[in-house]
């Protein structure tokens, strides 16, 4: 059984067809990348998968469940956690607190717990420990008490991933995690992604950074003008003439 299955996803915005009949299967482990030129519909696809948008046609299946058109928080509850293309941190909170929010799904307690700090203390300690561990894993442990807005861009990205990991995703959706990172940061990101996948979380990422993609992805899907034009291993995709044409133009494809 696959982790995620997209069944002929189509999305129209008035006369514009952003996605057309995209069908894709993501496995329960490993790293899959979605690539494609700008405007190919990648983020729209992410939004549809994660519930921030609904398809005009087609279905999204997560495990056994049809999650098409379900609210984002309910999809998150099923174990599908996403990050955003433009980093959406809780700017006024500290780095540590940001990650603690990520633990929301796996902790319990509402208004009553707020008035019983003694009872809540043990749960809070667990949240604290889990959050600190994630900060160590992403290399942000020394910035724990810094307000999130004060971090440099690369670390903001890492924080968003740490926060997403706090939610114990079965499938982690990363929207351009390497955007704006320098080479060293990208290498560290690759390490992190490999570690995450090795620990059992499936990863689906949108990326433009080909080095990163070729390095970490086991499966690559290519979108162009809303259509899936290739889907396979990095080696297969690299040699696919349609892919080359999409990126470099027809003349180059003829030479390939």
């Amino acid at each position: 059984m696959s982790m995620l299955r997209l069944d002929s996803i189509t999305r129209r915005f008035g006369g514009l067809v952003a996605l057309e009949n995209v069908s894709l299967e993501i496995q329960t482990s490993g790293i899959t990348a979605i690539i494609g030129p700008n405007g190919a519909g990648k983020t729209t696809l992410f939004n549809i998968i994660s519930g921030f948008n609904t398809p005009s046609a087609g279905r999204v299946l997560f495990g056994d469940d049809d999650i098409t058109g379900i609210a984002p928080e309910l999809i998150a509850r099923r174990g599908l956690i996403r990050t955003f293309q433009l980093v959406q941190l809780f700017d006024e909170l500290s780095v540590l607190e940001n990650v603690k929010v990520g633990r929301h799904l796996h902790t319990r307690g509402g208004l009553l717990m707020a008035f019983l700090p003694r009872l809540a203390a043990r749960r809070e300690a667990e949240v604290e420990a889990a959050a600190q561990a994630l900060l160590r894993q992403t290399g942000l442990a020394d910035r724990a008490c810094v307000p999130a807005s004060a971090l440099p861009y690369g670390q903001k990205r890492l924080l968003e991933i740490a926060r997403a990991l706090a939610a114990e995703p079965k499938l982690l959706l990363l929207d351009e995690p390497a955007a704006g990172l320098n080479r060293e940061e990208t290498l560290r990101l690759a390490e992190l992604l490999r570690a995450v996948a090795a620990a059992g979380t499936a990863v689906l990422l949108i990326e433009h950074d080909m080095t990163l993609v070729m390095n970490v992805a086991a499966q690559i899907a290519v979108l162009d003008f809303g259509r899936l034009i290739a889907n396979g291993t990095p080696a297969e995709v690299r040699q696919n003439p349609d892919v080359i044409a999409a990126y470099l133009g027809q003349a180059e494809a003829a030479l390939a």
Binding site: E73, F84, E92, H104, L105, G110, P117
Partner: protein, 325 residues
């Protein structure tokens, strides 16, 4: 999305804040011992501390806005007044009914209203506050309209009432303190984290499984409850109620206190309430200038110190350590 929350200020680690606390406590003790007119002023400050603390949870923590929480104070205040003064109920059961009514109203109002954003939310809540005022004026058979209801008995249980000014002040301070510590507890909890996440980024919060609509409603209900408590306390402390008590004046006053004190902070509501109620007392004779002063001061605060007094330490330290451009 712009957030109105500040990071949870580490209590006790900031000398300026400690000094302010010390001053405020000293003042309160002084007034308690000396008695006199200032006690009524502090009573108002304590009641507004409760109201503004609730508003702080909804606006400061959760990043929403409400120009109409005076409606909830009115619902509970008038319920307490009518049940005790006209129907001779005991104050506590009457307040319980009032607060129940507040929660019901907040639930019914909250569902459609909280789906709104920005100036739509502001206007809808303003409309609700104005409707409450109009109902208080027009439903004369119950509320006695502009004349108001007087002779409201003091708070108490059976024969054991709190009728002296000093006693009332102590009671109000205790309630205000409980309210503030409860709010702090909320902030530190999983619930409070969800609130602040919503203020930071609703999309990110939803992507982490937080049901934003649900939590906005919870914040709304909690803050409405605080407003209701303030309303009932007010009518019992003052012994009189009229539509003006819970009118637009209350809204402006509360916002001034919230912003002067420091929105989103622990101490802000109390600080703001103290400052706003105490300072005008020095101009007691110039009553017409009071609201004018509130408005002008609020504008100045919004422009030059939107984080309020509680943010002054941060403001002062950042201007003395200005980094080169």
């Amino acid at each position: 999305m712009n957030s109105l929350t500040s990071t949870w200020a580490k209590r006790g680690s900031n000398p300026v804040l400690l000094a302010v606390w010390g001053l405020a406590s000293a003042l309160v003790v002084y007034v308690l011992i000396r008695g006199g007119y200032l006690m009524s002023v502090l009573q108002i400050a304590a009641i507004y501390t409760v109201f503004v603390t609730g508003l702080n949870i909804f606006m400061g923590y959760t990043g929403q806005v409400s120009f109409g929480h005076n409606a909830f104070a009115a619902v509970s205040g008038y319920t307490s007044a009518v049940l005790t003064a006209t129907y001779n109920w005991e104050p506590l059961p009457a307040a319980a009914v009032g607060l129940g009514g507040v929660l019901l109203c907040a639930l019914i109002i909250g569902y459609p209203t909280l789906r709104l954003r920005g100036h739509y939310l502001a206007m809808a809540t303003l409309a609700i506050g104005l409707i409450a005022y109009d109902v208080a004026v027009e439903w004369g058979s119950v509320t006695q309209g502009y004349m108001g209801i007087s002779g409201i008995p003091p708070i108490g249980i059976g024969r054991w009432t709190v009728a002296s000014d000093r006693g009332i002040l102590v009671l109000l301070i205790i309630v205000a303190a409980i309210g503030m510590f409860a709010a702090a507890g909320i902030r530190r909890s999983r619930l409070g984290r969800a609130f602040v996440a919503i203020a930071g980024s609703e999309n990110a919060a939803r992507a982490l499984g937080i049901d934003v609509s649900h939590y906005k409603l919870v914040a709304f209900l909690i803050s409405a409850f605080y407003a209701g408590v303030a309303g009932s306390l007010f009518v019992h402390a003052i012994g009189f109620v009229s539509p003006e008590v819970f009118g637009l004046h209350m809204v402006v006053l509360a916002f001034t206190m919230l912003y002067i004190g420091g929105i989103g902070t622990f101490v802000g509501p109390a600080l703001g309430a103290l400052i706003v109620t105490l300072l005008p007392e020095s101009f007691r004779t110039f009553n017409e200038y009071q609201d004018l002063a509130y408005g002008a001061v609020l504008i100045l605060i919004l422009i030059y110190a939107p984080g309020g007094v509680a943010s002054l330490p941060k403001l002062l330290s950042s201007s003395s350590r200005r980094k080169p451009a």
